[in-house]
């Protein structure tokens, strides 16, 4: 049972870290919004799904790559990958702002109960996924092969593939930039101020609506980056992929302590590794069960997640 795990420990670990970084970026979409609004951004999974189509449209319709065409090399490769990444981030970011505008803004102004907002967000996520289902006629969409998945090198018997390496490095960079943005920039300070105390921030002259829209945008950008890496690694997308990925990423956010950006980082990586190890030991079908049982256990002993709600504790 554990033989597989010991046998392929390093290749599993690398796959787990790559998956983990995708989770880290999606869970930023949950954690940022939760930190500011204290609400689950239920539509984030569909924002992720829309983001994956950004990548596919760029490589298929703008650069005219097909599943059988020659993979790109050198400068062209970098250009296509970078513009796909930006396109995914743009699509997801705009979708997130749209979600905020349609499903959250009006209800927030009325100061209504949280559940109404939750249902409104659920409604908009049904709309997003249904629109995409109708557009793609319920069929999975294969991604053109832009990046040739060459094996770079071998470390401790594990193959290091180009796409995993790109995912790990680029995702780490994007996470770092976003984290710095929230820590250091003026807007980031405003975001943190709102998450600490909405009323006080308002009194200090923070434009609440703009800050919240920006929070959604930043969360969307991170989620969009995750969509790009997802398509690069798995090379396909479908209107319903959002659900599983969103669930896992949300679990990751809770695991690390929702509302806490660093927590999303550790939570995402933990979950990625956990999923990969669990599927190796118990079989893929028990992956989700293991993850949830671990989550319940963590919450039982550390009810605020592994790293706590950093923002929450500063609230009186």
């Amino acid at each position: 049972m554990f033989a597989v795990l010991i046998d392929q420990f390093w290749s599993l670990t690398i796959a787990g870290v790559a998956l983990g970084f995708i989770y880290v970026l999606i869970s930023l979409g949950y954690t940022m919004v939760y930190g500011v609004l204290r609400m689950i951004n239920f539509a984030n999974s569909e924002i992720f799904m829309w983001g994956t189509f950004g990548t596919i449209i760029t490589s298929r319709d703008i650069f005219h790559y097909t599943q059988t065409s020659e993979p790109a090399r050198g400068f062209k490769l970098a250009l296509v990958l970078l513009s796909s990444l930006l396109m995914s981030m743009l699509v997801a970011g705009l979708t997130a702002v749209f979600v905020e505008f349609v499903a959250y803004r009006r209800l927030r102004a009325k100061g209504t109960n949280r559940l109404a907002t939750l249902i409104s967000a659920i409604g908009i996520s049904i709309v997003l996924s249904e629109v995409m289902r109708l557009l793609t006629a319920s069929r999975p969409v294969g991604a053109p092969r832009v990046l040739e998945k060459i094996i770079l090198t071998e470390i401790w018997g594990a193959n290091i593939r180009l796409d995993t390496i790109i995912t790990i490095i680029a995702a780490a960079i994007i996470f770092f930039i976003l984290e710095r943005f929230v820590k250091l920039s003026r807007m980031g300070k405003a975001i943190r101020a709102v998450s600490m105390n909405e009323d006080a921030a308002k009194l200090m002259g923070v434009n609440l609506n703009r800050v919240i829209a920006t929070t959604f945008l930043v969360g969307g950008l991170a989620t969009g980056a995750a969509s790009f890496f997802y398509v690069t690694v798995f090379e396909y997308t479908k209107f319903n992929i959002g659900f599983t990925m969103g669930m896992a990423a949300f679990t990751a956010a809770v695991l690390g302590g929702i509302g806490n950006i660093r927590g999303a980082f550790y939570g995402g990586l933990t979950l990625g590794l956990l999923e990969v190890y669990a599927s190796a030991v118990l079989g893929t079908q028990w992956k989700a069960v293991t993850v949830f049982i671990v989550l319940v256990l963590v919450l039982l002993f550390k009810p605020n997640g592994l790293f706590g709600e950093a923002v929450q504790t500063t609230r009186a």
Binding site: I40, G111, N113, V296, L299
Partner: protein, 345 residues
């Protein structure tokens, strides 16, 4: 003279009820029940559903949804805990019926207590460790529980995995009333009776100690604890009673559908039931009934635009929540006022 607010259906309905004396109330109740019982005969009117059989639609989704929404309302509406895994109890009830119905000679009514008991047991087992959590953490843990139940029946051999269980027996006839596949009037009447029993139970509990304890917990859990209410105990009770109703709905559903499979118990069902509760008016029994009736019926009624019906469903959710955030028939203002504070806290 004050302008009458025609949108405020709740106060209008409550006003009639308050002003009526006892015989009048009995008359209103009996007439309503009688009219509802006649619903399956209205199949030829504008109510008819294209594609799906009208009387079957009245049982599932409409009737079963109302029953489940009432059960979930005990948890979400009365005591204010967000449960995103309610489908688990429905699934436990349904699988109890399926397994016991195919392996033992017991009939639906004899299995019903077992289904309810197993669902309640699951409620206690899940509630004991998790009900200390609050808000969104409780939501994710219950959501996880719902998925675990589905994945366990999907991946186990005793539940026949993804193939599901077929040949579940129908309920035995009650005198001249026969349960039939092509004519589900009797099923509908059974559901109506179960709904009435549930409503009766909730109304009785609401005015007694548990109801008041739930109300206190919902408004401010810490204050309730300080006032000497054993909050964990009442939260578990609320959770367990909700589970019992879900389990009963599951038993009936399995017996009506004759076939169940794990794909019928996805997270979407939990979300849909929660949507019924919030859409209709969280905490208000009649609001919940109305919400569940609309959300269960609407997708079937608009099947003629088959491909876009879920899209319309989503749009309806967003629009109604934006314009009536407290639901179609909101709960009384007195109960609502304090919840408002909680949002700012």
């Amino acid at each position: 003279m004050k302008m009458r607010n025609y949108w405020n259906l709740r106060d209008w309905g409550a006003g009639i009820w308050e002003r009526a004396n006892r015989p009048k109330r009995v008359a209103i109740a009996i007439t309503t029940i009688f009219l509802v019982a006649l619903l399956p005969f209205a199949g030829a009117s504008f109510l008819a559903t294209p594609i799906a059989a009208y009387d079957a639609v009245l049982v599932y989704p409409v009737g079963v949804f109302i029953l489940m929404a009432l059960g979930l309302n005990i948890v979400v509406g009365k005591s204010g805990m967000l449960d995103l895994g309610y489908v688990a109890f429905f699934a436990i009830g349904a699988y109890t019926m399926a397994l016991m119905g195919t392996h033992t000679g017991l009939n639906t009514w004899e299995i019903m207590p077992f289904g309810i008991a197993f669902a309640m047991l699951a409620g206690v087992l899940l509630g004991l460790p998790t009900l200390r959590l609050r808000g969104d953490y409780l939501a994710i843990v219950t959501l996880g529980f719902g998925e675990i139940v589905r994945l366990v029946v999907l991946n186990s051999t005793w539940s026949k995995g993804p193939n599901g269980i077929a040949n579940i027996p129908m309920p035995p006839d009650i005198g001249p009333l026969k349960f039939k596949l092509d004519d589900q009037k009797v099923f509908f009447w059974v559901v109506v009776i179960m709904i009435l029993l549930t409503i009766w139970m909730i109304r009785r509990l609401s005015v007694r100690r548990p109801g008041r304890a739930w109300e206190a917990i919902r408004q401010d859990e810490d204050a309730a604890e300080l006032m000497g209410i054993p909050t964990l105990k009442y939260k578990i009770w609320s959770f367990t009673l909700g589970a019992a109703v879900g389990g009963a709905a599951g038993v009936l559903f399995a017996s009506k559908n004759l076939f169940i499979a794990p794909e019928m118990f996805t997270l979407n069902v939990s979300i849909l039931i929660l949507a019924c509760v919030v859409f209709g008016g969280i905490g208000n029994i009649w609001g919940v009934v109305l919400g569940a009736a609309i959300l269960g019926y609407l997708p079937e009624r608009i099947r003629f635009i088959s491909d876009a019906r879920l899209l319309v469903f989503g749009l309806v959710l967003v629009t109604v929540m934006n314009f009536r955030p407290d639901g179609l028939l909101p709960r009384k203002k007195r109960e609502k006022a304090i919840v408002k504070k909680e949002v700012n806290a």
